[in-house]
Symmetry: C2
Subunit: 298 residues, 2 copies
């Protein structure tokens, strides 16, 4: 498998920092150069040995790097590729870790004029609700799944190279179109985040909020865990993929109305008939996103 | 502390079975008689040594018992107290474990004509989404909190006795009115269950549901865990406490509309300003429902 001389890490946060640590641990890269919008943050990454050197600009992090990882909130993708346009080696493998894939691809095309053949968009199904370089973790990706969404302009050799990289981090690799990705993750990730934000805000806007939170238990804890997610990351996701997400909240609203109607009219049989399929479906579901490597390379 | 000669367990499910096991383990009771609507289920409880003997009727489980635990879906409360009306010893301590408290108190008054002075309504903030006697667990309540909602007709001696029982199981005990209870738990438990049911149904009603579920990850897992809850138990809760729950979904809808509006108009700053308070509030929240015993006897 190809080893890399230098990883250019653009964005030093939880996701990117974890990638740098994991790549080093796996012996994939010799040297990591990190760029962050906040120089202090890049220094912190260096202090934590997540990166070996800091770069003063996006371009500087890319020059001389044969592996480039863009790990910024998705709306910053355009700015990153614009800065890279005159410094990208055609031999370097470029990836990102964004949770929306159509918007990322559109941003690269807008910035570069053409879809870059050496860019393999990636979305690792891993993370935590805590953001920032302090949360970087060499084990974050191990045993998880990554989705690659190459376009028809992406060179197959780079897709293979990207697949090898994620495999080396102990991940299962799936491939699909950016459109399929965005529709699936609107349904199973973006919409739940939106609903969890709305639920917490709905509580917080009530004068009794403090009393409520005092007695909240394990059900609340799990239901709302994702509401603690990073505001910058999720601001960008909710806007970039809004079309698909609003489709999902539409489906949710329909189901909620049915349940509320059965409650309002006090119809226990109708209500049970609405709860039962949900209870059964969720009981039968087993997580597949977390999988042993090489088990589902579709 | 008072020990009990015989526990009459009415309803042999996860909550009641766990109470019987824990009470025996704590040396609170010598003998357990169990009644279940399904004789097979009562036999299973006996086979598992959750109960020592089975009763053929609700009344038979109560006669001779100085501790009676009613652990049935809340809408069955009336039927239980109706069956008990001519067999209740005024010295027996009666409790329940229902998740709504006004409806339970109303049902006892309706069944008995007067509010029973020896009934101490209880809601242990513990459980799991899996139902049934097979899920009974002697450790379910340990380290958790229970809410008692005695009325002004409940004899103080029985409230003290009930408090001692739950303390003996290693629980923190809080006391409040049934009204306060129902308003708080609509907000932090019942509404989240309703939203989780609606979300899963919204997914399931789409033709791509199987594809969606295949790629759902840890965020989905936690957000939807409570959607696997028991349909009978939750049918009753959602109807019994619908007034408070619908107030909560109203507050939720308002917050969701604000978020959706910011997405629709593509206003990143407004969207961030809505996500940030949610993220901060949830990050700062710490679970208090799970607490060491005797730490908050208010």
């Amino acid at each position: 498998m190809r080893k890399f001389k230098q990883l250019g890490l653009i964005g030093c946060g939880m996701m990117g920092g974890s990638f740098a640590l994991a790549a080093k641990k796996a012996g994939l890269v010799d040297f990591v150069v990190g760029y962050s919008k906040s120089p202090q943050n890049a220094e912190q990454a260096k202090h934590m040995k997540v990166v070996d050197a800091t770069a003063a600009s996006i371009l500087q992090a890319a020059i001389g790097s044969d592996l480039i990882m863009v790990s910024v909130p998705v709306a910053a993708t355009f700015e990153v590729f614009k800065a890279l346009q005159f410094g990208l080696s055609p031999d370097a493998l470029i990836m990102d870790v964004g949770s929306t894939k159509q918007s990322v691809m559109e941003a690269t095309i807008k910035a570069l004029g053409v879809p870059p053949s050496n860019f393999v968009p990636a979305h690792p199904i891993a993370g935590k609700e805590k953001a920032g370089i302090m949360e970087a973790d060499a084990g974050l990706y191990l045993g998880k799944r990554v989705i690659l969404t190459p376009s028809d302009k992406t060179a197959p050799s780079f897709v293979t190279m990207a697949t090898d990289v994620w495999h080396a981090l102990g991940m299962a690799v799936s491939r699909m179109t950016a459109e399929a990705h965005d529709s699936i993750f609107a349904a199973v990730s973006h919409a739940p985040h939106l609903l969890a934000f709305a639920y917490i805000n709905g509580l917080n806007n009530q004068s009794a909020a403090a009393d409520f939170l005092k007695f909240a238990g394990p059900g609340f804890r799990d239901f709302t865990r994702i509401a603690a997610s990073d505001p910058d990351v999720w601001r960008d996701i909710l806007i970039a993929n809004r079309k698909e997400i609003l489709k999902q909240t539409g489906a949710f609203q329909m189901s909620l109305s049915q349940l509320e109607y059965a409650m309002c009219v006090g119809d226990p049989a109708a209500l049970r008939a609405l709860i039962e399929p949900s209870s059964t479906a969720r009981s039968l579901w087993e997580m597949n996103a977390q999988a042993s490597p090489r088990d589902a390379e579709n």
